[in-house]
Amino acid sequence: MPYGWTGQLLRINLTEGSVTKEPLKMDWARQYIGGRGLGTKYLYEEIDPRCDSLGPENEVIFATGPLTGTYAPTGGRYMVLCKGPLTDAIACSNSGGYWGPELKFAGYDIVILEGKAPKPVYVWINDDQVEVRDAAHVWGKQIEESEDLIRAGTDPQARISGIGPAGESLNRTACVINDKSRAAGRSGVGAAMGAKNCKAIAVRGTGAVQCADPLKFGELVFEAMKAINASPTTSMALRGMGTASTVGFTNTVGILPTNNFQQGQFEHAHAISGQTIAKTVLRRNKGCYSCPIGCARVTEIKPGGKYSGRGEGPEYETIFGLGSDCGVGDLDAVLYTNYLCNQYGVDTISAGGTVAVAMELAERGYIPEDDLSEVGTELKFGNADAVVRCLEMMSYPSGKFSRLLAEGGYRLAEHYGHPELFMGSKKQDFAAYDGRGAQGMGLGYATSNRGACHLRGYSMTLEWFAPQDQKIDPFTPEGKGAVQKNLQDKAAAEDAVGVCTFASFGATQPEQLAPMYNACTGETLSVEEWMTAGDRIWNLERIFNNRAGLSRKDDSLPPRMTREPLNNGAVQNQVVHLEQMLKEYYEVRGWDADGNPKAETLAKLGIE
């Protein structure tokens, strides 16, 4: 068995119900590290990028990295890859929890789902015993009940990753959820799984993940743990208040997107902030596997109000998606809709974005009364009932309007003739930072291979969060192309190796991560080669997208970002200077003016 990787791949043909075990292509593993990179390589080699994302020819790949299952800080991540139903581009959604490590312990780095099951099934991986089982009894069930039922039918210690009603009904914002509330959220990966009639993958693993140089690895890990505990970002902000700790800051600065990005400050921001959560609804912290940070919030709505429930969340992005972006400033309502999203299996960012654009379309009178009547409550900003109702409609679509909601925000806005009101890129909704107040984020949204995403090139860390001496000007477009490239490559390598990007705030910069990867796998990558691997992953994703029919025109932002200035807080009279940044970005990437990687760039990266 190779170190780090298990060296084994599980291929499940759902059409035939057959299971094959293959040796992992180790030359690919070395080139693309694992997780996001290796998964992309398999996807790129095995499917036609022009295929129908909801057709049987699409694949859904669950991929772990070499550090998944080790005690590297946050070494518990896995990725879900496919052609994205929301974006028609490469989809690659990351999740924590316990599922990824369990898959490694069962003896597999990657699971590939192919074809389409003739009737609903789930996959049961019990170490080396793998079965495709009938899922009639869980089909239609919400996430928690489905997990409990599958666990009851398999092993009390099984870890489960699967879809809810939204994924089953091919909602393009559906996610894959593991361990009841950790989501591989974006790009509609849940719909791709639903289209395969596959409800879930349950795993129980009792094996081991090996390490090449235990002494060195231990030394590096303990050093990183110390750094994480010493960093205020990881040990105080994220551990103390979770990602929600960001609300106060972005609102003060003026980049907390509100009412479908019409404003950058929200009058009720304090009510839905990390501080308020910590003081009111927080039950306790939770950590994903091997996580020394523990940013997850286990919360419960206090009894006596309109809503009730308990679960995990909300994250910062959820507070924006279901809160400020829809104008909802009632914390209980945000919690409740967050729990609903977890139960239905929809991405809180894209579901929130879809509702927000629907609200703006409705307020501007672009949606006929007939369609609006399906909602049953006024579709306007600030109406939490409308959010609840829309989430239900998009997860159990029946009428015309609910089916449009299930198509996601872009297709909804396009249907009503106003795609410009959709706030996103490549048909995927923006995350919770207004790009007009952070040029790098604007460029990052436009160039992210999986559609608008804050984590692909998280330049907020440099443009706003960094200490004064490391901070770069958020308003200048100059140099942002190079900044984004560097951050994108860094994040690609992190996602590939199987750790969470949050660990890098405290400890695991490439300078720490590359040696950790080396000690675990026995490879000998320099930091430079590590970053090149990230670059390679990014370019392979890009070629996938270009072959799927995407091009420069898709590296775009809605006119609200590029033409309507934002005037809030510290952000005054700002638009995203996209064209200027794109030019620089393509140059530093080694791409031509149409956004195609040049032959020499690919040759340098070793991509054929």
């Binding site: 312990f105 009841k180 993940v209 040990s235 306790r284 996580c291 523990g294």
Partner: protein, 152 residues
Amino acid sequence: MKMILAHPQKCVACHLCEGACSFFHEGAFQPTKSRIFVHDFVDEAVYLPVTCFHCEDAPCLSNCPTYAITREADGRVSINDDKCIGCKMCLVACPFSVMGFAEDKHISHNCDLCGGDPQCVKICTYDALEYADIKPIEWMVRMDVAEKPAEG
């Protein structure tokens, strides 16, 4: 004597302790071979790290038919691998179900305090595990109990 004390209210169920334990003892990451376990009751939001308590009147020790389990000078309960016949009486006897069994070696194993530097305690960034003398522990446990109603 020192012991490993768990503060379940500080635990976040990250299972780092299991990784550290199995890595130290087995040279690989394998939670099923860890000598410490985190029982995570996700629905109830209760996370409970449990390891060998090195009981004063240890049922594993008194039930071992081959006298493979003995008490060391430092107070801990240890298993002599050569004498262990793999009968699993100790597993049955342990009231906390923390006695482990290595199926590949066909013998039992328990927490050995890593020779005085327990890896689980060392890796826990949440201070949910503590390696401390028994006297102050009495006090700490009382404080934990006292804090519970205070937290409401």
